[in-house]
Amino acid sequence: MFGSGKPRPVDEHEARGETERVYHEIRQTLRVTGINLNFRVWASFEHFFPAMWDAVQPNAQTRAFEDAADRIRAEAARSADALGRVHAVASALVGESPAYQVRAALDLYHYVNPKLLLLTSGVRLALEGERVGGSASGPAERIVRGAPPRMYPMEMVSEEPDDERTREIFADIQESLGISRVNSDYRTLALWPAYLEVAWRGLKPIATSDPHRSAAEALRQLARTEARAFPYPLTLTSAQVEALGEDASAVLKTTAQFEDLLPGLILNVALLALEERDAGALARSPFPAATAGGAR
């Protein structure tokens, strides 16, 4: 996945020009403290990236989008609850502050990942020529912009960390999940290497099981259903991408890979979060969004 040499993610501090503008818009619109791997990889297609964002942003700022992501998150909590339990925090985390911060980091990804899946599904369907969105007859209600005050910063270790044990865990994650880049989530959890080690040891047998694959596929289908019901049409065709001078098949391949990857990741974050709270609590958004003052 994301095979050698192509595409190279654009980190937040490296972003310039249009990419920097879009990164800011993503943080504000999706109400998140950082830019996930999904976007950082898309940003390597420098002409596609702003065009993609301009196509999805009208939907991403709506209450309907937020509610759809909430439904995906709730379904993920229920599915994860049925998959089993990972016992990580109690045995691996020494210290009150690290435990607090792991919880906060899990809340961050538990919040944002369903939005990423929803958005990615919409983009993939549109690139494949399917009609996406357009359910609204008038202006849709919008949510407030900006990351919630208590949301954890999207801090993460380097993709190639100095710590040998963490490098080994990253390699095992990549091999087990069939990915060539380690997602932000795992890189954030690697801030506490002892936790990541125990968490991954507990997650691995569940994350590579058939029930997990089935639950992930159900989430992916739910996201597709929700994307098709976006309030505004998502107009982004492969022909448009080609006209921008990008390789549409490479863009679609990357997008499809993320759509396939994200449901499992959502389940894995939920599995880790379930150690601290029950499925009912986990089904609720950790950062409910207020409605913005009037539709634009």
């Binding site: 490296e14 502050s97 911060q101 949301m151 910063p153």
Partner: protein, 276 residues
Amino acid sequence: MRWREFQALQKVTEVGDRFVSYVDQGFGEPLILLHGIPTWGYLWHSVLPALARTHRVLVPDLLGFGYSDKGDRFDRSIATQAEMLDGWMQGLGVERADVVAHDIGGGVALRLATLFPQRVRRLGLMHAVCYDSWPIEMMLQFGHPGVHRKVSASTAIAGLKLALKQGFASSPADELLDGILAPYATEVGKLSLVRNAAALNTNLTTEITSLLPRVDAPTLVLWGEEDKFQPVRFGERLAWDIPDAKLVRIPEARHFVMFDQPDAVERHVANFLDQT
């Protein structure tokens, strides 16, 4: 003590929308140790065990530092840090404490002693920023917003490591420097440190100069004589302006006096806390 061991000691509490990590060790009268820039509570790891034998030692990471909140959406000035400490102490049920502080932590302590005097029982100042002694050139440059875009975290850490060595009369071990800089080794950590540097503001100490003669807390001003970042002449001024202050000059020590002369620092601080 390695930095991971120190991190594992940290508790956490929320002050408003922010979270503050801190170490809470020992029993007795509360003693708060404040770090400066670009360090964190780990600065005090070598003196912590001895002080915790006689005191309840509280070592917070200031906002934006160490393993306290490093989000990019709040003020990190020493004014805000003093207000945070007031709220933090209230949350912990600590009405009054001895406060020993280093570098910009000293600026925070000075604001606490002048603007929240009921919070400070005794005051220890080591190489404290004061008057117009700060910011030093290196930190002024580091605080430029462009640094975040131009310099990667790994490059920033390498540069800071070299710069920190100038603050030692002795030769610091790599492990110590790595521990001091560990929270800033990620892009988020680096950005937080850039913002911390951007918040360094001379006005926040010059505006309290006229209040220094009103500080009624017994005060120890402890300074390495060879400090190039905060020269000892500023310590001399503090000792003149604060009525019940005593200046102790430590030979063969620079900015990080607690590492250059750990025994002397431990002895002077312990005597100060025992005798006043």
